[in-house]
Amino acid sequence: MAFEIKKTGKVYDVCIVGSGAGGGMAAKILSDAGLKIALLEAGPKYDPADPDQMTQLKWPYESPRRGASTTRPFGDFDAAYGGWEINGEPYTKKNGTEFDWFRSRMLGGRTNHWGRISLRFGPRDFKHRSYDGLGDDWPISYEEVAPYYDRVDKMIGVFGTKENLPNEPDGYFLPPPKPRLHELMIKKAAGNLGIPVIPARLSILTRPVNKERSPCFYCSQCNRGCSVYGDFSSSSVLVKPAMKSGHVDLYTNAMAREVLTDSSGKATGVLYVDKTDLQEYSVNAKVIILAASACESARLLLNSKSAKFPNGLANGSGVVGKYLHDSTGASRSAFLPQLMDRKRYNEDGTGGMHLYIPWWGDNKKLDFPRGYHVEFGGGMHMPGYGFGFGMERMNGKYPGKDGATKAAGGYGAGLKDDYRRFFGAQVGFAGRGECIAREENYCEIDPNVVDKWGIPVLRFNYTWTDHEIKQAKHMQDTFEQIIHEMGGVANGTKPGADTMYGLENPGRIIHEVGTTRMGDDPRKSVLNKFNQAHECKNLFVVDGGSFVSQADKNPTWTILALSIRASEYVVDQLKKQNI
């Protein structure tokens, strides 16, 4: 067979690259509007209700590695295929800096894995430069996005409570689940310290929002994908209903190579390699929407060079790939002696936490400019690989039922009983904060390296500044204060300056955004305020790439809201024949 690019005569109204939060929502909105859509996904089909793919309600012993993270980075039962490293798809780093890039090649992308934390950005988050002089303001305000957040809330479902906090906007919430025992303990201790603890805001159905999806049945396994669609993932909640319209052709295992343009600079289609037959194909459309993830969409644009776009498509500004930023992250765990020998009951609850700590500080009185929220976990979890590790560091410190303290370590019936006694007595805290977007943190095309399909790969350059490091220090101080106030014992030694206070590598929190940011000035931004490329009117980017700043929230709810807004703008512009 000759090596050639196979073309179909068909011209779609819209070609969407990527089926995660942004692409899934675009497919839903645009198919509802009756447009013909080609949806390209670089991985396989995925349905958490498919018995061949399902991991929900599996027991650890159904995996020979007992759920260890050898094959999947978050353990055998995690729904996300892919991870930090994907065979044959490398990325590189520059100047001795670190960036870890999590990719999930599958229908629904990384929405199959996440913690379902669904926070709106607040009024200050869209205008932070005006507030503290750092970074840049968004070209849009909270008030402009709010109606779209409202629609996301009602369409997808998120539990939470109205709190009237200044920068944590309320929404249309489902009732939250009652707190677990350790969560009540944290709430009491943090409350004593003046730190607010409020119901979490997670896109999990404590009550149904429609007849297609059942309510949560409290297995606590959202990261495994839900077989009754009781939580949000793009594949189950957006792509599946979009497919039912009959207007969407789904191309799986279709790895986009570049966006095609004509001599006038208009986008005409997408060139992709089919991973199944290894042939090259092009798909044509009137409008191209990239939603491949912030970095993957930037890669596509940078790899789409032509005489008209020598720096890559829509990159006359040179901004594509720049202003890359991920949330900060630091964590600490602790042991709660009062929870030894605790009574057993099923406290799985929903996936993730029932309560959380929104940012409460006043940065004008602190030595770092942006905030963070605190997530926490604990309780009587289903055991998995790693359960019981390190008992020799625990069982010599606390007296037994007879009041006597024994030698650490050991073996036999006494040791066996220790595992029972310590079960469910750990808590963990994780801070997730805002990193200020800077031009110096970027991804670019590595001039020397291609992936297994010959596509040039990304090279990252990313450093933290004092802003983020001091924020991590504050997280560690906060964790210790709360642990102490609870009567707990923090595990290990407190991370210090030598480890940047436990600040994780950039990329590790999987909230990377900013690489195709929006703005009013085409010299300083890639997209306009409707996620439309300044330099190519029928090209849009609806993933986290459009973010000007990442806030101390999680990005998904904002990606979804902006994708509705951009998609309806596409419909409007097509009607007006502007694109």
Binding site: K58, Y61, P176, L181, T206, P208, K343, P383
Partner: protein
Amino acid sequence: MDRRKSLKALALGTLSVSALLSTTGCDDKKTDAAKDSDKASTPGYGRTDDEKLRDKQLNAEPYFTDPEMKTIAVLADIIIPADEHSGSATEAGVPEFIGFIVKDKPELQLPMRGGLRWLDVQSAKRVNKSFTESTPEERLAIVDDIAYPEKAKPEMSQGVAFFNLMRNLTATGFFTSKIGIKDLGYVGNTPNEWNGVPDDVLKQYGLAYDEKTLAECLKIEDRTKIMTWD
């Protein structure tokens, strides 16, 4: 249909019968399958093709020799013996788990193989027999010298490191097995209705749900009612 049954039907309504049988927590329905999986066989657990291939490759060749596996079994049952609550580590399939995990995590191979050899040499020095050939009393004499990190003599440090690893792997293997989970008293991983911490537990810790929390949180009887805001 009682409420518990309807809950399960609701939760699993979209599944095929085979998936239902392999995933519900109904102990009586999964005798053979559970025994098999306890022994580290892999009936479907949602693998991709690449993952299936990797499991197959890992299962193709054993890493440990038969004498090594025998020592692992003896040690595992010293660490977690049968007691009035549950069976022993070997009854829970711990040696098979350890045999697999060292192939899955090759970084464990050298510490395990070298540690087992260290143990045999230690035994030979003392009684001129391998660890498994020695008497239970002779075995425990060595184990007592390496099982207590804070009391062990400095010249036993390599044995202590090995025993810590062996203790970790035995505990994880045991408490992730069917009999270990039952022993531990973990009662989740099944469709249910979370309606808060039991009252007696709240009382035990001097805690209570305040009125605001009770007013805001889900009324469990509303769980299946479609939410409206208007």
